[in-house]
Amino acid sequence: MDLLAKGIALMGCAIGAGLALIAGIGPGIGEGNAVAKALEAIGRQPECKSSVTSTMLLGCAVAETTGIYGFVTGLLLIFAAPGMFMDYLA
């Protein structure tokens, strides 16, 4: 019974970590859109290249935040949560 409980806890952590990484989809699409629009802007006005690029990189880094949250959650589920569950179940 104890082993089963531990197994279920570990399984939940692993599945949760996998689900948390779904958060990577959103920033991927968003940053792709941002880069596409920046390329359009550079194509229209090549003289603005440096300012468009720096603004785009800033926007990309901010848009990346939700993906990073997912990554940090996944890491916590893999490295921190199992130990906590094992302490609790022991």
């Binding site: 990189l57 800033l58 880094a61 901010v62 990346e64 935040t65 990073i68 949250y69 990554f71 940090v72 890491l75 490295f79």
Partner: protein
């Protein structure tokens, strides 16, 4: 699979008295490397700025002047000339972040791969933002600011205020740590691949070659260029950019 080693910062020992509830003060890898980074920056500043002249400047002094001018341009360009007194703070934050990220290239663990470091920086920035808000509108005005545009939104305003430092810290931390994790996985995968690949060669030659991770030479350097150099400098820039923007916004009231 045994050679994948992704761990947190090591703790070398404990110092100080045993505080109830908190325990003794841990002397972690993050702390030691942070002090090394601070030492490097301090020595670099002393080296760059000693023996300065007005005429016939040396190359060293030209570099120092260029750095100071870049910092001035960055802060004044983003915040306006009234905030020139933030130049040392933002420059210190930027240099600390860049050196902390890049010291990972020397084989030690970056201090920025520990959430505590970024959390400290983010808390400092949060205190400055709050101080600027109180300075701009008074303490009552600061509290009233949470009830805008309608009082119903007060909990959400408080949440969004608190999420500023959390998102700043997690963004920087997550980017640096993801680089470390991906680099670790790539090294382990290439080592396994090269041992399997060269194990196909029959005889003694194959046995000797399969013990050496030959594919680990060169290929990870390309990824390291993105994950260490680009991300490291980029995240330092983003952190400073957001700091200046938040402070300037807060001061406008």
């Amino acid at each position: 699979m045994d050679n994948i080693n992704i761990s947190g910062a090591k703790v070398y020992g404990y110092i100080g008295p045993d505080i109830p509830g908190l325990g003794r003060f841990p002397l972690s890898e993050t702390l030691i490397v942070s002090w090394i980074v601070m030492l490097i920056i301090t020595l670099l500043c002393i080296y760059l700025t000693h023996n300065m002249k007005v005429e016939k400047i040396s190359r060293r002094q030209a570099l120092a002047e260029w750095l100071v001018e870049a910092a001035n341009k960055f802060v004044i360009g983003n915040m306006g000339p009234g905030f020139a007194y933030f130049v040392p703070f933002v420059a210190a934050l930027f240099s600390l972040s860049v050196f902390s990220n890049l010291i990972g290239l020397l084989g030690v663990r970056s201090p920025t791969a520990d959430l505590n470091t970024e959390a400290g920086w983010a808390i400092v920035v949060f205190v400055i933002i709050t101080a600027q808000k109180i300075k701009a509108g008074g303490f009552g005005g600061y509290l009233l600011g949470f009830t805008k545009p309608i009082p119903l939104l007060t909990p959400f305003n408080v949440l969004s205020e608190l999420s500023t430092p959390i998102s700043m810290a997690c963004r920087h931390f997550g980017n640096i740590l993801s680089g470390i994790v991906i680099n670790g996985l790539i090294y382990a995968a290439l080592a396994t691949a090269s041992s399997e690949l060269f194990g196909l060669i029959p005889g003694v030659v194959g046995k000797v070659l399969s013990t050496i991770p030959i594919l680990d030479v060169g290929i990870p350097a390309i990824l390291s260029f993105y994950f260490d150099w680009f991300t490291g400098v980029m995240q330092a820039y983003i952190f400073c950019m957001l700091t200046t923007m938040y402070i300037a916004n807060a001061a406008e009231g």
